[in-house]
Symmetry: C2
Subunit: 341 residues, 2 copies
């Protein structure tokens, strides 16, 4: 497929681009009044995720309103456990909750590896609709949770500061943990493949809870599965392991194209560690978008410079916080789009 | 003062010790049935903190029961904001809550720098009583929150995953932030001095939320205040900035004696960064204490080896989780006490 704007694809492939491309994690969501209007008209978050027309509409909103260089399908990483048989609920202001978290081997045996065109058709329809309605303006990013993060929700049953139930499970039941991770990985591979078939031109893996693992647990329980998913990808893929500063060298050894950095990492130091093979994505502190316009411009340019201009996809170092003003997000985006090295 | 066991003091001063000393963050607390018995007999957490006889009793429990090489006063870092006029409540299973978080300059102007012998006498009495009742068996550690972490609670009003209110405050009201930090720092310095006068032989600063800061915010809002507190200490002081892997070089430049490491850090890599000047403390993953005895012994010895045997105070990489079996904690401690390099 030809895109009117393929900057982000070229940056992901390591090509030199005329400017740094930009998108924003959680760009489709609560920061936009246009999103909140749609959200208010329906029963809840899951209805939005599961209705392709609406999911596609909010996916395209930031392309129109904010001018980002890519659309990312509005969805949730927890559609995967649900399609495997582990249902989640989204509690307003609390977050996800699994009424029946995984506890025993029998729970694990019951998990299925679904056909994505069956159990996850609503996501694929959203991708197809988005691609159709974008008419090639920008590429569409498909995403999934990294297997460890999905496992963490399935075991813990909810968000947690320590994920101590999950870590206990890894230390005491490593064989069972690998058994679940295997099933999640197979599901994720076929899910992402189906997303690409539906028209996604890029992929991203979110390992949101990687940072709570010890380095040796990350090596054992997170890395091998991420690596297999990267190997299976037929389009550029980004790995964003939040907080896993200790794993940069390992992530660099996968076949991923791009490594996402959170705001605690210094891009120059990261380059010293991993060299210049991969593209980097990130990494402005999302809280900076609460500051004055002047500070946002200064810090955004300073961030651009610290990445050096090539092999860089600009983004925040974490999803944009819901109470951020869309004008501030647009200023961040425009500053990047107007900057030339 | 002469101690029957002064291993930890000697290790903190960088002296070669016959074995690695050990204590456990949160050793006085819910892991011990003896603690829970006392806790059940009173109205709540704060009553325990504010009653010197009881605070002292639970402080000494782990010395008797677990055989640790130091006692740490049972208390809370939030006694400082409370003494300054910002009262907290401890909600069961939720955590601390400040009914009146700091919002305006007028709130800041109302904050006092208290005389510790007045507003914090209950902590100092607990120190005095503990020192008396320990009869020199082991040294007593006094602690405080690092100023940024205390500020975070005062602004946010409660625990948070992102502390985005606090970070917003730092980005938008830096002058006011420094004004509060100055007051917290002066209070902390006189508080720790009073603790030492009362008999504490070592000190520790907990910067529990350091890891949510961007490196430049850490440099501006956390480091200078930590550094001043270290300079003011007349006994060995430890800095434990959880998650602040990016700040090791800066912490190494303070006058602290010991740097606490969380479980995500590799001691060998840390030594490559900071050299061999300081003592290191840590850093077994607290979740490892959920595993089999065999795994605990293997991993504890592996941890000891990774620190190399000298200038090391063994500990977990975070406070022990409340549902950990005391037998497992004792196994961790005994493994360290029995190991010789």
């Amino acid at each position: 497929m030809k895109y009117q704007n393929d900057l982000i694809l070229r940056a992901a492939k390591g090509e030199i681009t005329e400017r740094v491309p930009v998108w924003v994690m959680r760009q489709a969501g609560r920061i936009l009044p246009e999103y909140r209007a749609i959200r208010a008209s329906i029963s809840g978050f899951k209805e939005l995720v599961e209705t392709p027309e609406l999911a596609s509409e909010v996916t395209i909103q930031p392309v129109d309103i904010l001018g980002v260089d890519a659309a990312i399908i509005f969805s949730d990483i927890l559609v995967i456990p649900e399609a495997m048989g582990c249902i989640y609920e989204m509690e307003e202001k609390v977050g996800p909750r699994f009424p029946n978290p995984i506890r025993t081997e029998s729970d694990i045996n019951k998990l299925v590896i679904p056909d994505p065109e069956d159990k996850l058709k609503y996501v694929l329809d959203a991708v197809r609709l988005t691609v159709k309605n974008l008419h090639g303006r920008v590429p569409v990013i498909g995403f999934a949770g990294a297997p460890f993060t999905i496992l963490a929700y399935m075991i813990e049953g909810k968000g947690s500061k320590t994920f101590s139930e999950t870590k206990k499970f890894l230390y005491t039941e490593p064989v069972l943990a690998h058994k679940i991770l295997e099933k999640i990985t197979l599901t994720t591979i076929s899910y992402l493949k189906a997303k690409v078939d539906a028209g996604a031109a890029m992929l991203q893996l979110f390992d949101s809870w990687a940072g709570i693992l010890s380095p040796s647990q990350y090596t054992e329980f997170a890395m091998p599965y991420i690596s297999r998913i990267c190997d299976s990808a037929s389009v550029p893929i980004t790995v964003f392991s939040k907080g896993a500063f200790f794993a940069l060298e390992e992530i660099n050894q996968t076949s991923c194209n791009t490594i996402g950095l959170d705001w605690t990492l210094d891009p120059k130091k990261v380059r010293e560690i991993i060299g210049f093979d991969k593209t980097l994505q990130g990494n402005l502190d999302p809280c900076l978008l609460y500051s004055s316009d002047k500070k946002i411009v200064t810090e955004t340019i300073s961030m651009l410079k610290s990445f050096g201009g090539n092999k860089h996809i600009a983004n925040l170092g974490h999803g944009v916080y819901p109470d951020t003003s869309p004008e501030k997000v647009k200023l961040f985006i425009d500053t990047i789009k107007n900057y030339r090295f």
